[in-house]
């Protein structure tokens, strides 16, 4: 039989009569199957799919001979969106102007492929796009989430390969612009070259140092010894001054700010060891310590590189996406009609329309109605701010609960957001608080070390003037606190790497520390414990409205809100082939429902008391505020791994809570199924916030797990926030950690890892300080020989590093 896939949509519960198995996962994206999965024959075997989009993607992959993807991947594919987004806008010269570079044989663009999680995704994209006509080169990088595409504009339009990308379930997003992408790449390459030179130079310097150390009987001739020393000097100099430049410039900055910290400590130690060796070389003294200086630079660079790499992965995937500017803006024409245009085509003076939950595309002035704007990205204030008509709205703020109209005053790089993004990138280079604690230790360590050296020098001047300088120098070199400086970066590097491998992205540097301290976990229900894909189960109608009409109105109202319910209505309306009218003045009443008017008639959709003036019964009501017209019953299923995850969390001694905006009986059912006694239903975002604040008031450390816009405030208020990867961008921004895929089992694993990280960091500090407590008195007494010093430094650094590496191992299950 032919390999081609034959997709069937058992929408009419017909043909195969395949029992709608509720268990099992989509063959392509791994999401739980709906009650009626799409069955398709791919590669001779019948597989279930969650939607026809996934089935089509899988069939294409099979036909293109790329089915190895399923064997190679380590994470599930992205769900293929059925909604055919218009990609033509990518062809607009205004979009391409800033992002496309002319290269030999065509044009080049770097973009972000949303949904690319593992190396197999990148492999699939590379191979799939390379088959598209006109594509010269496609290089996807799963680590950074970027895709570099070179195409021939004469042979194809950019939107063609992007359509293919989209059909495989990956959404193209604009990266930060060609120039900045280039700059990032250059910076990464410079870091790599630095560490390469440090590694190669260190190995050579060690080799020559070895020759000098092995001359224990002082049998080497003077000229030969000096020759070896000068060669070591030659090899070490670029390591100390080129590879180690980050530490030297960092120390200079710290000293200028009069706040000596880690870099000062590192630079002092390195320069001391280096210049002391130069002095000894010139004066034909007994010892040189070039090897100590270069090894130190190399080890620290390596730890720093690993930590940066882990965080860069997290930030490239989450932060870049969250910060990627929207590709489209909605411009309102003079006649009130809306038109999607490329962001770059938006000009000062235009009127822009922003849907609820969307990002404001440019700086401007608010028109007509007052709006709620969340400006966390701009001001750090997580609460939405009420703005009146005529007030300034800033690009990057998010329209909360209701859409808004604005007159554009500044776009692109002229906006305050662009300025802030630059500031954020600067701030990102700052070290985490845990490392800042190390900075404080480092500061007094430098001072203490210099004081001790001075005291020892004075004491030896009195006791034996000929050895005074030598002993003081040895003391300074030996106390060179490799281990102390490595303690935190090594542990963080290992832990972030382990987290990222498990698909948990730490977006903030102190996320692990906060996670380790958590005592309570508060879950949102919809989209978090349940799979976020509600289904419309039943429609009851009243007052002469038929089911189709009710569905049309409800779908129109839900459109523009990002609540998962909107998808359920879209799907139901699509299944019935309904034309959905346009709703005006649509607004979200948090915790209550939606309001809007259709054809001049005001409608409400939500809780019974809000929409229809009745007692709340858990159903979703459509009405005008007083009269009921229809009631929708919405069902949803808990995620398969929710029971295991909650059980594991309880076993770790965490108290669990459920805080949902959903109906009482639904929440009670979920609470019962998961054994969470403290389940609260019908909570507005304010109530959730109050719940978390109350827990915090009792001295608990709250970890909040959520996914939606309504969770954003409570996520921002919690001690540590975990967002589900496919949730709203607003929730990502409020979160410390993001689960790359909605697998709840990763939460207990991440907490266990955070606790281990904290323990290991403390052990490292204890070891590093302990080493110095032993080494310093020995050095002060003049008992430390050069080989003993080198051994001590190497062993202490290695112990700390190896101890940290324990974090990369998976704990015995």
């Amino acid at each position: 039989m032919a390999q081609a896939a034959a997709a069937t949509r058992p929408g009419a519960r017909d043909a195969h009569g395949a029992p709608a198995r509720a268990t099992g996962a989509c063959f392509h994206c791994g999401e739980a199957l709906p009650a009626e999965p799409v069955l398709a024959v791919v590669g001779g075997t019948r597989h279930p799919f969650c939607c026809s989009g996934c089935a089509a993607a899988s069939a294409w992959i099979q036909d293109a001979g790329l089915s190895d993807y399923y064997a190679l991947r380590t994470a599930n594919g992205a769900r293929v969106d059925l909604d055919p987004a218009a990609l033509d806008v990518w062809d607009a010269p205004s979009v391409q102007a800033e992002h496309v570079r002319a290269v030999e044989g065509g044009c080049e663009i770097t973009l972000i492929a949303d949904g690319m999680h593992c190396a197999a995704c990148a492999w699939l994209i590379d191979n799939a796009l390379a088959r598209e006509p006109g594509v010269r080169e496609a290089t996807a990088n799963a680590m950074t989430g970027r895709l570099r595409l070179v195409w021939d504009p004469a042979a194809t339009r950019l939107s063609q390969p992007l359509q293919r990308l989209r059909a495989l379930g990956y959404t193209p997003c604009l990266a930060t612009g060609a120039a900045r992408e280039q700059a990032k790449r250059r910076e990464r390459n410079r870091d790599l070259i630095r560490i390469g030179i440090a590694g190669l130079g260190t190995m050579q310097a060690m080799m020559f140092a070895e020759a000098l150390y092995l001359d224990t009987g002082n049998t080497m001739s003077g000229p030969m010894r000096d020759f070896l020393r000068w060669i070591t000097f030659l090899v070490s100099t670029p390591v100390v001054f080129y590879a180690g430049w980050t530490f030297l410039s960092g120390a200079w900055r710290e000293l200028r700010l009069r706040r000596p910290g880690m870099d000062t400590l590192v630079a002092t130690s390195t320069l001391l060891a280096y210049f002391a060796s130069v002095w000894e070389t010139i004066t034909h003294g007994p010892h040189v310590w070039y090897d100590a200086a270069v090894m130190f630079v190399f080890l620290l660079l390596a730890a720093r590189l690993l930590e940066q790499r882990a965080r860069r992965v997290a930030n490239a995937q989450v932060d870049a996406l969250a910060r990627a500017r929207p590709v489209f803006a909605t411009r309102e024409a003079g006649d009130g009609s809306h038109e999607a245009i490329p962001l770059a085509a938006l000009e000062a003076g235009d009127v822009a329309y922003v849907a609820a939950g969307d990002t404001v595309p440019a700086d401007g002035t608010l028109l007509d109605a007052p709006a709620l704007l969340e400006e966390a990205l701009l001001t750090g204030e997580s609460r939405p701010v009420e703005r009146q008509a005529g007030d300034t709205v800033l690009a990057g703020s998010i329209a909360h609960q209701r859409p808004l109209r604005m007159q554009v005053t500044a776009t692109g790089t002229g906006t305050r957001l662009s300025h802030l993004i630059r500031l954020v990138e600067d701030a990102q280079a700052h070290r985490p608080p845990l490392a800042r604690m190390a900075d404080r230790i480092a500061a007094w360590f430098v001072v203490g070390m210099l004081l001790a050296a001075a005291a020892v020098y004075v004491a030896w001047r009195v006791h034996d003037p000929s050895r005074a300088f030598e002993v003081a120098l040895a003391l300074l070199v030996i106390s060179c606190p490799c281990a102390l400086s490595l303690a935190v970066p090594a542990a963080l590097a290992a832990a972030h790497g382990a987290l990222a491998r498990d698909g948990v992205l730490a977006t903030r540097p102190d996320a692990l520390q906060r996670l380790a301290a958590a005592t309570d976990v508060v879950f949102d229900k919809t989209g978090t414990l349940s799979d976020g894909h509600p289904q419309l189960e039943d429609i009851a109608t009243f007052a002469g409205l038929d089911a189709d009409a009710a569905l049309r109105i409800a779908t129109a109202l839900e459109r523009g809100s990002r609540h998962p319910l909107a998808q359920a209505f879209e799907a139901a309306a699509q299944a019935r082939g309904l034309q959905v009218p346009h709703a005006s003045d649509a607004s979200t009443q948090a915790g209550l429902g939606l309001a809007g008017s259709i054809d001049g008639r005001a409608w409400r959709l939500g809780r019974a008391d809000f929409a229809a003036g009745r007692e709340d019964d858990g159903r979703l009501w459509l009405g005008d505020g007083a009269t009921a017209f229809a009631a929708f019953r919405i069902g949803e299923r808990l995620r398969d791994d929710a029971p295991d995850a909650t059980r594991a969390l309880r076993a770790m001694g965490l108290s669990l809570h459920l805080a949902s905006g959903d109906a009482r009986d639904a929440v009670a059912r979920a609470g019962e199924a998961l054994g969470i006694a403290d389940a609260h239903a019908r909570l507005s975002p304010e109530d959730k916030l109050a719940r978390v604040r109350a827990l915090q008031g009792d001295g608990r450390h709250v970890a909040m797990v959520g996914d939606g816009i309504n969770d954003a405030p409570v996520l921002a208020a919690a001690d540590v926030a975990i967002a589900i990867g496919d949730g709203a961008a607003l929730a990502h921004r409020s979160a410390d950690l993001v689960l790359a895929a909605p697998v709840l089992g990763r939460i207990p694993r991440a907490i266990a890892l955070a606790r281990r990280t904290q323990r290991i960091t403390r052990e490292n500090f204890a070891w590093a300080l302990g080493y110095n407590a032993i080494a310093l008195p020995l050095a002060a007494l003049g008992w430390v020989t050069p080989w003993l010093a080198a051994l001590g430094m190497a062993v202490s650094s290695l112990t700390v590093t190896l101890n940290a590496l324990r974090l990369t191992r998976r704990p015995a299950a």
Partner: protein, 58 residues
């Protein structure tokens, strides 16, 4: 021991060559993506020349 006067400069030359090769590799983007190329070798078949599914597989 005079042979060292030859061998050590020689090792420095090798070091220079290694540094040059490393810098060249970095500039050529050899370290940009360390995961995806590793998968290519795990593929079972070369990709078919055409996307047309065979009319009758067997």
């Amino acid at each position: 021991m005079t042979i060292l006067l030859l061998l050590i400069p020689l090792s420095l030359l090798l070091l220079g060559a290694a540094v040059w090769a490393f810098i060249w590799a970095v500039r050529k983007g050899q370290f940009d993506d360390l995961d995806t190329p590793a998968l290519d070798i795990l593929r079972e078949d070369p990709p078919p020349a055409s996307q047309e599914p065979p009319a009758d597989a067997d």
